[in-house]
């Protein structure tokens, strides 16, 4: 007569390694296939005048506001940058080419103007300039050129990789 439980050893669950390894390898291949290394994304903070505020009014004294106007040219690329601060006014003409490198000198000039106004900047974001930038942009201007202008105003990257902040308070002037 067979005693119940006498062959328990034979009933023990065996860990099947081969299917497990198969599954793990399939998982590994799946994740390697879907992994897509990509650049990191970052943000520029933008101030918008509140709805009740007049479109061209700023709460800062006029001497503390850097006014920038971006004018679109053919094919909606940047054509002219007008900048003014505390009585100084400059106009930079750009070559409205689809090639970013050809348009870049106008943004570099804007950056140099901002550097002259703010100084060499500060690596501490909390200590960035109190000067506020107000940007008026042509409706049709390509967004890439708007971002280039904001970059020129916001700061720069030093050779050692450190980011130097110039103007952090950037406001869009409400389209008229």
């Amino acid at each position: 007569m067979k005693i119940r439980g006498s062959d328990r050893k034979n009933d023990e669950l065996k860990l099947e390694m081969v299917p497990m390894i198969d599954i793990v390898f399939q998982l590994l291949v799946f994740f390697i296939m879907i992994y897509k290394p990509s650049s990191m994304e970052g943000d520029y903070k933008i101030l918008m005048p509140s709805a009740s505020e007049q479109p061209t009014m700023s709460d800062k004294p006029l001497d503390d506001v850097l006014e920038v106007t971006l004018v679109a040219g053919p094919d909606r690329f940047i054509d002219t940058i007008n900048v003014s601060f505390a009585g100084q006014e400059k106009t930079y003409k750009a070559n409205p080419s689809p090639d970013q490198a050809i348009r870049q000198p106008a943004f570099n000039s804007l950056h140099d103007f901002v550097l002259g106004v703010v100084g060499s900047g500060n690596s501490d974001p909390a200590a960035a300039s109190e000067i506020e930038a107000e940007i008026q942009i042509d409706y049709d201007l390509r967004y890439v050129d708007t971002v280039s202008a904001i970059e020129a105003i916001s700061g720069y990257k030093r050779e050692d990789g450190q980011i130097i902040k110039l103007i952090e308070k950037i406001k869009f002037r409400t389209p008229e």
């Binding site: 918008m48 709805a51 700061g155």
Partner: protein
Amino acid sequence: MIDMVFQLVAFLLLIINFSDSEKSAEIQLPLSSIVKPPESLPPYKIILNVEDSGMIKFGTFPPVNLNAIRPILLREIGAASRLDVLTEKINVIIRADMNVKTGLVQELMDVCKKEGLESFSMRVLERMR
């Protein structure tokens, strides 16, 4: 070897960013050298993707035009208020295509502003050297 493979699987699981579902793959973001990924998360965020065509995409919903974005904003503002997040604390992140008209982005900001949203971020891609 099995240990190694398990570690690889765990590593790949960790680095896969599942929040990408909020981003629209068709959008070509402008590049910038001086931005870094945000160090802290806002209490509530609304990511609006502005496509080259001018259509606005939110989450996994189909793209809509500017006139149809208000109901989406109101629903999100409602969801934020249920989490005790004030409307002015909601961060609107605009992921606009590099070729989109800037005026459209400004109009989108205006629509958001009319609903009481005040915090705006323009998302760009970090330029690799």
